[in-house]
Symmetry: C2
């Protein structure tokens, strides 16, 4: 069976790029932290553990490359920093985020919630949708004082 990194390697090769050790280490960090929303600096520090000689500029260049290839999405939560999220393979759409204004946690929603909304927007505004970004700000279940939440 073909692994995720193999497929990313093929994508790179298909676009005439090499999977150098630095790029591989970067992709591995992203795979190992799929749940997180790492900044370039975060990625840099984690990659440094595998490949201490790597430079921050290379991480930026790799992340930009992966963004162009649609391997990752570059997202922005309004703090001054860009964050990088691996795309779900084969996902038609970008996933959504729930940001807790109490604790700052960012949860992801993979569900496709916008099918109906997109139909409305496409017909009402004659706008051909290619992708969407949906973020909710609010209070997550862990911070809701009035709820006795079973698990976490």
């Amino acid at each position: 069976m073909e692994s995720r990194i193999d497929r990313i390697k093929k994508q790179l090769h298909g676009a005439s790029y090499k999977l150098t050790p630095q790029r591989e280490a970067t992709v591995l960090v992203l795979l190992e932290h799929e749940e997180d929303h790492l900044s370039a600096e975060d990625v840099f520090l984690l990659v440094k553990e595998k490949a201490p000689e790597i430079g921050l500029a290379t991480v930026y260049r790799t992340l930009e490359l992966l963004t162009d290839l649609k391997v990752v999405d570059k997202i922005n939560f309004g703090d001054g920093v860009s964050r990088y999220d691996l795309r779900q393979e084969g996902a038609a759409h970008f996933h959504h985020h729930l940001i807790c204004i109490e604790c700052g946690t960012v949860d992801e929603i993979q569900d496709d919630l916008l099918g109906d909304v997109e139909k409305i927007v496409e017909s009402r505004f004659q706008f051909k949708i290619k992708d969407h970004w949906l973020t909710f700000h609010g209070i997550c279940k862990r911070c809701k004082p009035d709820v006795e939440d079973g698990e976490v």
Copy 2:
């Protein structure tokens, strides 16, 4: 009849801030460019025309103040710059954006499209929604080659 700027003035006073000439010039620029999505630098250059002695730091401080008071929303389209949008008065929710990947135009949608989606998210994830950000990327009607668009 009470004007928009008067109400903003009252909001400032209510929070123990003054509407200084610099702040007033900044708010006026925002009111005159309600359709646009101005960066701090954009606002600065426009305010300079009314009040040439103003400093960029003051514009930043004013925009931050207005953001805190929820007079404006600070938004981020992924280029490295924050942009500032006047809130619709009385709007329960932030408006949505349509970004054209061909021509870069940003259109606004005031419609509240997410009522049903929010209900689902609140119950499924036990997440109390306070606000949302929805942006669509795609091709606007002006850039669609196959459509003979009547107006605009």
